[in-house]
């Protein structure tokens, strides 16, 4: 859009000049309203509820959370039930992939159910992750925390599973429940359940 609306030498505005100025004022007012709303509402927000603790399901919330942080979003990931395993220092290093009930696995369920099959498919997946230069869960947790992502561990599930606050990575928020997660979801621009 042209901003150099010219005014004739005599200082009189033509009808086109007035229209152009009116349009320009409308545009600026709209931009101002956007900026005001950004300032008043703060940064955009995303909340992810992470409920799964298998190796394959641990990745999406962490990748999305760290990426959204790079886009300037304020991100909260609320980990509940098996999602807690992702934040557990020890267990996060041993997340498993289940071959039973997973139609993407190259083995039929009757074979997948045999003892040792989960270990085998997990090892296959871990090798693929390493071969394809995909970051480890531990690395993604560190990056997320460094990027300012609030990784929260649901207090009710911590108690239910008999965990201790010290079992989780440094920087993980504990002592939070459904109400605080819900409140953050209400205020968020994006809410996801994984």
């Amino acid at each position: 859009m042209s901003t150099d609306t010219t005014v004739s030498a005599g200082g009189e505005l033509s009808a086109e000049d007035v229209d152009a100025l009116a349009e320009r004022i409308d545009t600026l007012e709209a931009e101002l309203a956007d900026l005001r709303s950004d300032v008043e509402n703060g940064p955009k927000k995303m909340v992810i509820i992470a409920t799964k603790g298998t190796l394959d399901m641990a990745y999406p919330p962490l990748i999305l959370a760290s990426t959204a942080a790079a886009f300037g979003y304020q991100v909260t990931v609320f980990h509940t039930f098996w999602g807690l395993e992702i934040l557990h220092k020890q267990n996060s290093k041993n997340l498993k992939l289940s071959s039973v009930g997973n139609p993407n696995m190259p083995v039929p369920n009757v074979i997948a159910a045999l003892p040792g099959m989960d270990q085998m498919t997990t090892r296959m997946m871990q090798n693929k992750i390493a071969d394809n230069d995909v970051a480890s869960i531990e690395e993604l947790i560190e990056i997320s925390l460094e990027s300012g992502v609030d990784l929260q561990a649901c207090q009710m599930t911590i108690d239910l599973l008999g965990y201790d606050e010290a079992d989780f990575y440094d920087g993980v928020t504990t002592g939070v429940g459904a109400a605080s997660a819900f409140q953050e979801m209400v205020e968020a621009d994006i809410q996801l359940l994984v």
Binding site: I63, T67, A70, F71
Partner: protein, 84 residues
């Protein structure tokens, strides 16, 4: 041309999604106004990802993206300028 003299280079070769965007964001934040950042990646998805990031980030202008071959490996170079 500023793409020829980047103030900073981020080498994310051998790193996959989401690392190129995250490392780009970190280095971009440290740039002074008017400076250009070069990002060198081997992740082919970085072409789309870094463009998407630059499009949605205030003050980040994607000057160019190049695909080259180095040591028989595809390399993707991105040049991003921080607004004055």
């Amino acid at each position: 041309m500023s793409t020829e003299s980047p103030a900073e280079t981020v080498d994310v070769k051998g790193q996959n999604c989401p690392m190129p965007v995250i490392k780009t964001k970190g280095a971009f934040d440290a740039l002074a106004a008017g400076e250009t950042l070069e990002v060198v990646a081997t992740d082919s998805g970085s072409m789309s990802d870094i463009k998407g990031w630059a499009d949605s980030t205030d003050g980040a202008e994607l000057l160019s993206q190049e695909e080259a071959t180095e040591d028989g490996e595809a390399v993707y170079k991105h040049y991003i300028q921080k607004a004055e």
